[in-house]
């Protein structure tokens, strides 16, 4: 085959412009792969056709690009560089938001932990108190020999109120201070048992800060009445001060 003749036959142009038959096309493709000069002639004509088309371009109506992108399910905006800037900003804000949330979460966590510690300690203390009270109540309730003497406030302190639990079998005496005014530092409450009309010292009270505390007092064989006076700190076996509460078993 004379290649130059083939090239100048018009097959190259016919092929490129889509005017050749299927048979001519497949033959041309084979020859093109075989002869570089045919390939060269093809590419040269393609370039001149492209240049010619570019030189005769006609402006496309605005908005057509958007229509095309809508149709392919894309977004024309995404192909613009602004999109990457927007994405960066979004990412920055997202990271900042995450850091703020993380810091907040850590602080919250920390303060919860502190609160938890406090509550655990309080619960522990309450548990100890409860255990002590239960112990006391067992002592009092589980024993049929226990007598109770309710002591009401006298005219000088009507709000005052205390209770004596007296074990008639073992002679143990317990005092429950329900309500007594806080004494001055140099004063102390003292419990008295009246035996045969005479006051017998049952002990000085070291008032605890804790409410409803049960105090173990001195033993008493028999008693017709009980009373609490306010005495000087470290008072002896004879009462001098005013009576705050008194009562009979």
């Amino acid at each position: 085959m004379n290649i130059q003749e083939y090239i100048s036959s018009g097959i190259v142009e016919s092929y490129v412009l889509g005017l050749s038959s299927a048979e001519e096309r497949s033959e041309f493709e084979k020859i093109c792969a075989q002869y570089p000069e045919v390939m060269q002639a093809r590419i040269a004509f393609e370039i001149s056709i492209e240049r010619q088309a570019m030189g005769n371009a006609v402006a496309v109506p605005e908005g057509l690009k958007q229509k095309v992108f809508d149709a392919i399910g894309g977004h024309e905006n995404e192909v613009k560089p602004a999109a990457s800037v927007m994405k960066m900003n979004w990412l920055k804000y997202a990271v900042a938001a995450c850091l703020i949330l993380l810091a907040g979460s850590l602080y919250w966590n920390y303060s919860l932990q502190q609160k938890n510690k406090e509550l655990t300690k309080k619960l522990d203390d309450s548990g100890k108190t409860l255990a002590q009270l239960e112990q006391d109540i067992k002592v009092l309730q589980g024993n049929p020999a226990i007598k109770m003497a309710r002591m009401d406030g006298t005219t000088i302190s009507p709000q005052s109120f205390a209770t004596v639990y007296w074990d008639t079998a073992s002679h143990d005496v317990y005092l429950l201070v329900n309500n007594l005014p806080k004494p001055a530092n140099d004063k102390q409450y003292q419990l008295w048992a009246f035996i045969d009309g005479k006051p017998v010292d049952m002990g000085l009270l070291e008032l605890s800060e804790k409410p409803l505390q049960l105090y173990r007092m001195k033993n008493a064989q028999t008693a017709q009445a009980f009373a609490i006076t306010l005495e000087k700190r470290g008072n002896g076996p004879i009462p001098h001060g005013a009576v705050y509460v008194k009562g009979n078993p």
Partner: protein, 180 residues
């Protein structure tokens, strides 16, 4: 996302075949007007040409995987997609029915079948066609711009098929020299 101002043809084709929208945007920006010109040389109305161009780009996006660089350059492939779409449009019944309502343009008195009227305007390649001999010009117009097969032209013009082919080829080589 990296924005590129230009691609090699190989890069562009690879990205398009991966359905890269940015590359497709670049393709549109660079070639829409040229393909619009081609379509307008076949389809007469602006609105129809816009519709065809839209359809062409959607087809390019959908069919890019069937493009084979061995068989031609990317632009050649796109040009043929555009030409085929434009010819399909003017040969559609809908388009022909609409044309009947338009005034019949004055055409040179050519001794051809009433169905085959060359429509030669001064757009793009058609401008160059004017330099061809009339018999060649008619053949190129009918085959390239109106999409008639060599057989159809042979029958309509009552010219042997071999002669149609030879004359078209000869016209094309002359066209090529005019373009270069």
């Amino acid at each position: 996302m990296i924005t590129k101002s230009s691609y090699s043809e190989q890069e562009l084709v690879a990205l398009l075949q991966q359905q890269n929208q940015q590359a497709f945007g670049y393709l549109y920006d660079n070639y829409a007007n040229a393909l619009h010109g081609i379509i307008l040389s076949i389809v007469k109305e602006n609105e129809t040409a816009s519709d065809v161009l839209q359809e062409v780009f959607i087809n390019i996006w959908k069919k890019i995987r069937s493009y084979d660089p061995e068989k031609g350059r990317l632009f050649t492939w796109m040009l043929n997609v555009a030409r085929n779409a434009a010819i399909d449009k003017i040969r559609s019944r809908e388009y022909r029915d609409n044309l009947k309502n338009l005034p019949i343009p004055e055409t040179p008195d050519l001794n051809i079948g009433s169905d085959l009227k060359p429509v030669v305007e001064d757009v793009g390649l058609k401008k160059i066609l004017r330099k061809l001999k009339e018999e060649q010009r008619v053949l190129i117009d009918l085959s390239y711009f109106q999409g008639y097969t060599h057989e159809e032209i042979s029958k309509a013009l009552n010219i042997p098929l071999g002669t149609v082919k030879t004359r078209i080829r000869s016209a094309l080589t002359q066209l090529r020299n005019m373009i270069d």
